[in-house]
Amino acid sequence: MKKYIIKRVIISFFILIFVAFVIYVLMRCLPTSYLEEVARAKSMQPGSKSFEEWMEQLKATYGMDKGIIPGFIAWCGRAIRGDFGDSWKWTVPVTQKFHDAVWISFTMGLISFVLELLIAIPLGVIAATKQYSKTDYAVTIIALAGISLPTFFFASLLKLVFCVKLGWFDLGGLIGRNYQSLSAVGQLLDKAHHLVLPIVTLTVISVGSLMRYTRTNMLEVLNADYIRTARAKGLSENKVIYKHAFRNTLIPIVTIVGGSLPGLFSGALITETLYSIPGIGFVSYQSMTSGDIPFSMFYMVFLAILTLTGNLISDILYAVVDPRVRIA
């Protein structure tokens, strides 16, 4: 087991370096960036240097004048020490901006994740136990509709109903107009109030796949021989389903849930952008559209790390939870 984990971590590390390299090459090859914008603005000023001169100076300042390979090695060297440079757009160190933004995303992600589990698992189990019933069809269609629902369309509908027609929430943003004048508790409640719609959006959009996954696995378990045995020895249906079947369904669910835990830090790019919540998703969206190379690099490598960690966790959990699985 230990050997397996070490091997996986090493492989993941190499994959990560390659991914970072691909992203770095891509970012460096882009013909436009934030620097050009700055250089253009500066060269417009009266009595200023020409655009090319500014560009050269800025490139030298930000270490963009090296070739791609030396540049990447330099980037790696700094990244390992936790130094991702200064964000061009936000003019603060990348890690600081990340630190400011990530917790709000994490809170949002965690709450909607818990809601998701609470909704998806019971509904999935019920749908599977009553296969081909009306409940099953309803759950299947709701799950598929959730998967198919475009985030931006659903968010717009919610905004129309709850913000415009009913006036319960603000259209966007994390804090209200009178935030500064509120007490500490009031400020917290104000933030919570602004997070309601984003969390609802996130939950509805992502609940479907877990629901379907639970249903499929529950169905598989219900067809297993040990369930027939349990029924044959005269156990009550409740006991069969909730003691024998459900526990076995938990194995794949725990695996996938564990695997998606790192994803809670990734932020919800679309949802945050739609509601203008200054989480990591929205911040990096703004950085990416304005060509902020250090921040975009950091964010994408961060996402890659999260994906790799997620895969690793779910693989390990799979072996840990299910005693039948033996890893060589």
Partner: protein, 554 residues
């Protein structure tokens, strides 16, 4: 499991799990059914004699279903999947046939005639002194206010700039102002205004002063600049018989600098205003009648004359009507036509991306699964790398770059398809590899090897066809995902661009809160189309998986 993770991890396949081995179950299933049917029929035929048993007549034929027909039968028994199929067919008809029969073009603009009230002229009844200074004299505004002061205090002299002035009343609110030192007339102050009849610049001071004097005095004629003038009762100043100027207490000014108002217009307008009418009709020199609305504005103590002009404007956000069942959009284009073309674009992009994805995925997965060893190792590591590259951020960055480079929308669409296809293949490659790994251990593969069939033929003729069911399912499902992805990008303004329509960029208008609130017909239909299409692809994919997988038999 946020919405973004959904995009990043397109497949929620748990790693390390044993792949479901298909083992041509469908085919076996069909064979079993054939055999059963044969037994049944031979049992019934046995009673009717031995010779009949061996006959090959049509009534002796056993009707069996091919594996494909079995799948179709199972699929069509699934009501939910059939609903999805019907929605899809409807969407295809709507997008492709609808786009062909709609009377409008994708980017045809519509106009509407709008009546706009523009201010044409303003009329002020003069209630304060207006000054005119004599030629070569400068009666400054300071002096004007000094005059005003002494007028209010009912004195008849005042002093300004070291000069002493006095004034005499020469008519109703009409004063001549003289300098005390040389007794010279330097200015006049009057409520009445002397304006040239042709609407051009003011007449010279001499004429103004003398016309006013004549207007109020007994003597109705005067001489100025060697010419003789006469003043009529209504204020008209005649030079010979031709009217050159007139005296009036109303000031009529055109709003537009290039419009000159004729004397006749002014007279009729003032007459109507004095009669308290709110509408003013004027027949101009060409005999065309114009109608103006006259409105008194208390704040400015003036009348404004509004002319309603008909202007052709883009029919933006037109409400649904008979010509435009879903109204018109921001640019004045027919909404339902845009929806049809948008559907075309969304479906085209979806299909092309899937074709690219599948081609790369099948080739890579096939090679990897068949050869194994270091080839497999290499390709799978590439797959791992691609799997880790966050696709959404990459596409956003590329989209923003294309924005900055102002790439032509048509070429941009091609790039978008290539990027989406190139980033989406690892899921398919993994699936194909997994299937092939288990398939190649089976007897029929040994048989192909024994008969000496070429490798490429072995992969693409014997292995890949056995992966087709899973492939079709995964393709259908990811078609929905791709359309969703494209719509999201277009919504963010980074995907398909104007003038091309796509369901995503139609909904883009919602970013304007005014549209969100007031024009539901702009974005709700597009959203519903998108939702229905993606849902239908998922339903059909689900139905196909159940139909291909006999384990799920009812």
């Amino acid at each position: 499991m946020s919405d973004d993770m959904k995009n990043v991890n397109a497949t929620d396949r748990p790693p390390l799990r044993a792949q479901n081995v298909p083992q041509n179950i469908t085919r076996r299933h069909a064979e079993k059914i054939t055999e059963e049917a044969r037994k049944d029929s031979s049992a019934s035929a046995g009673d009717s004699g031995d010779d009949k048993q061996y006959s090959l007549n049509d009534d002796r034929r056993v009707r069996t279903l091919s594996p494909g027909a079995m799948v179709a039968k199972r699929f069509f028994r699934n009501r939910v999947a059939v609903t999805g199929m019907i929605i899809l067919v409807a969407m295809f008809i709507f997008s492709f046939i609808g786009g062909a029969i709609t009377p409008y073009k994708e980017d045809q603009l519509f106009y509407r005639i709008e009546e706009q009230n523009k201010q044409y002229a303003s009329v002020v009844e003069n209630g304060e002194f207006r000054y005119a200074s004599a030629d070569g004299e400068n009666f400054s505004s300071l002096a004007q206010s000094k005059f005003m002061l002494s007028y209010i205090n009912q004195k008849d002299t005042f002093e300004s700039g070291g000069e002493e002035y006095f004034y005499t009343e020469e008519g109703d609110h009409f004063y001549g102002i003289y300098r005390a030192s040389d007794m010279k007339l330097v200015a006049l102050a009057a409520y009445d205004v002397v304006a040239s009849s042709d609407g051009s610049s003011k007449p010279p001071f001499e004429i103004q002063y003398n016309a006013l004097r004549a207007f109020y005095g007994e003597e109705k004629t005067f001489e100025a600049g060697g010419e003789s003038y006469s003043v009529e009762e209504d204020g008209a100043v005649l030079k010979g018989t031709q009217e050159v100027a007139y005296v009036s207490r109303f000031v009529v000014q055109a709003v537009m600098p290039d419009v000159t108002l004729s004397r006749q217009f002014k007279d009729e307008l003032i007459a109507d205003i004095q009669a308290g009418k709110s509408e003013f009709n004027f027949t101009d020199a060409d005999g065309v009648m114009h109608t103006y609305t006259v409105k008194f504005e208390a704040s400015k103590n003036a009348w404004s004359v509004l002319q309603s002009t008909k202007t052709r404007v883009y029919d933006t956000y037109g409400a649904p009507s008979r010509e435009h069942p879903l109204g018109t959009d921001r640019n004045g284009m027919d909404m339902i036509t845009r929806l049809m073309y948008g559907g075309r674009v969304s479906l085209y992009i979806g299909f092309i991306v899937i074709i690219i994805e599948t081609s790369i995925g099948v080739i890579m997965g096939g090679i990897s699964g068949y050869f194994g060893g270091w080839v497999d190792m290499l390709i799978m590591r590439i797959v791992d790398i691609f799997y880790c590259i966050p696709s959404m951020p990459i596409i956003i960055i590329l989209g923003a770059t294309m924005d900055a480079m102002k790439v032509d929308p048509q070429i941009r669409m091609i790039y978008l398809m290539l990027i989406l296809g190139f980033l989406g293949w690892p899921g398919i490659a993994r699936m194909v590899r997994g299937q092939i790994l288990s398939l190649r251990e089976q007897e029929f593969m040994t048989a192909t090897e024994a008969t000496g069939i070429r490798v490429s033929r072995r992969i693409f003729k014997h292995l890949i066809p056995n992966v087709i069911p899973q492939l079709i399912v995964i393709m259908t499902m990811s078609l929905g995902d791709t359309i969703l992805m494209e719509a999201t990008l277009s919504f963010l303004g980074l995907g398909v661009k104007f003038p091309f329509a796509s369901w995503g960029n139609i909904i883009n208008d919602v970013n304007d809160t005014f549209v969100l609130t007031n024009y539901w017909f702009i974005w709700i239909p597009a959203g519903i189309c998108l939702l229905l299409t993606v849902l239908a692809f998922n339903l059909v994919g689900d139905g196909l998986r159940d139909a291909f997988d006999p384990k799920m038999k009812r």
